[in-house]
C-alpha cells in the first residue's frame, strides 16, 4: 500500500504538472481538491484518464469520482480493491 501511495503521488505530480511539489509534500489523507491541493475540474478529468491508462480502471459515474479522488489514500484504496494482482 505504501509503495502504491508513493507511486501514485509521483504519477499525479507528473500528469497534473504540479510544478515544484515533491511526493513527500503530499499527505495521503489530505484532500486533493479545494482547500487541499487545490486541484480543479480539469485535473479531476485527467485523474480519470490516469486511472484508466495506468491501472485499467474505468470510472464512469462522476458521483463515484468524488469519493475515489478525495485523497491519494482513497485513490490507492480503490486501486487495491479493484485490481487483481
Amino acid at each position: 500500500m505504501d509503495e502504491l501511495i508513493h507511486q501514485l503521488k509521483i504519477e499525479i505530480i507528473s500528469c497534473l504538472n504540479l510544478e515544484g511539489l515533491s511526493p513527500e509534500e503530499i499527505d495521503a489523507t489530505q484532500p486533493l481538491f479545494n482547500e487541499g491541493l487545490g486541484l480543479d475540474s480539469i485535473d479531476a478529468l485527467e485523474l480519470i484518464v490516469l486511472m484508466d491508462k495506468t491501472y485499467g480502471l474505468k470510472i464512469v459515474e462522476a458521483s463515484k469520482g468524488k469519493e475515489i479522488f478525495y485523497s491519494v489514500g482513497t485513490m490507492a484504496k480503490y486501486i487495491m480493491e479493484n485490481t487483481k494482482s
Binding site: 504538472n17 504540479l18 485527467e46
Partner: protein
C-alpha cells in the same frame, strides 16, 4: 478621446523585452519550454497554474505579465479587454492532443490538452491571472495585421465601454514562437506614441 500606447513587450526565441528594453537573452539557446520557465523566473512570478498551461497560454500569460507587472491599472475589471491575433491558432497543442487519440491501442484522450485546443483560451488564462473581465476576441489571419487590431480596438474604445485594451499577437510552432503585446489606454503618462495603426506596425517591426 485620444488613446495612447502605454506599454509594449515582446518574447521570441532570442529575447524578451519590455518597452523596447531587453531583459532576457536566450544565450544558452534554450528550447521553448525552458525559455518560458526562464522568463517566468526572471519576472518573479509565483503562479502555479502557469505550469498546467499549454505553451501558447504560457507565452501569452508571460507577455501580459511583462506589460502589467508594475502598472497599477485603476480601471474596473470589466473595462479592460483583450484582443488577439494568431496565425498558427492552437495547432501546436492540437497536434499534441491528436497524438493522444491517434493510436487505437493507446487511446487516452487528454482533457487537459483538449481544453487548450482553442486559440482563445490564452485570453481566458490572461483574464484569470489579471482579473480582466472586458471584451475578448481572437482573429486567425495569415500574419500580423496592425490595421485589423487597430480597427477592432478603435471600435471598442470609441464606444466607451473599454478603458484599456491588451492587444496581442501570439504564435507557437514546433520550431519557433513569438508574442508581441501592447497596452492601449487613454492615459498620456508613460506613453509610447498615439494609438494608430502605423505606430503599432512600427513597434512590431522595429524592435
Amino acid at each position: 478621446m485620444d488613446h495612447y500606447i502605454t506599454a509594449f513587450g515582446r518574447i521570441n526565441s532570442t529575447q524578451a523585452s519590455r518597452n523596447g528594453k531587453r531583459f532576457w537573452s536566450n544565450q544558452e539557446g534554450l528550447k521553448l519550454a525552458d525559455s518560458l520557465k526562464a522568463i517566468y523566473k526572471i519576472l518573479g512570478m509565483n503562479y502555479l497554474k502557469f505550469f498546467k498551461m499549454d505553451e501558447m497560454s504560457k507565452l501569452g500569460v508571460l507577455g501580459a505579465e511583462i506589460l502589467l507587472k508594475d502598472l497599477n491599472l485603476t480601471y474596473q475589471a470589466h473595462e479592460i479587454g483583450i484582443l488577439m491575433l494568431t496565425s498558427e491558432s492552437s495547432l501546436f497543442t492540437d497536434q499534441k492532443y491528436f497524438e493522444t487519440i491517434s493510436d487505437s491501442q493507446n487511446y487516452f484522450p487528454s482533457p487537459s490538452l483538449f481544453v487548450y485546443t482553442l486559440p482563445n483560451i490564452v485570453m481566458g488564462e490572461i483574464a484569470i491571472k489579471n482579473n480582466l473581465k472586458g471584451e475578448n476576441i481572437c482573429f486567425v489571419q495569415d500574419q500580423f495585421k496592425s490595421h485589423l487590431l487597430f480597427d477592432y480596438a478603435n471600435y471598442l474604445l470609441t464606444r466607451g465601454s473599454q478603458k484599456a485594451l491588451l492587444l496581442a499577437f501570439i504564435d507557437v510552432t514546433k520550431n519557433d514562437y513569438e508574442c508581441f503585446m501592447i497596452l492601449i489606454e487613454n492615459n498620456i503618462k508613460n506613453n509610447f506614441g498615439s494609438f494608430t495603426s502605423s505606430r503599432i506596425e512600427e513597434l512590431y517591426c522595429n524592435e
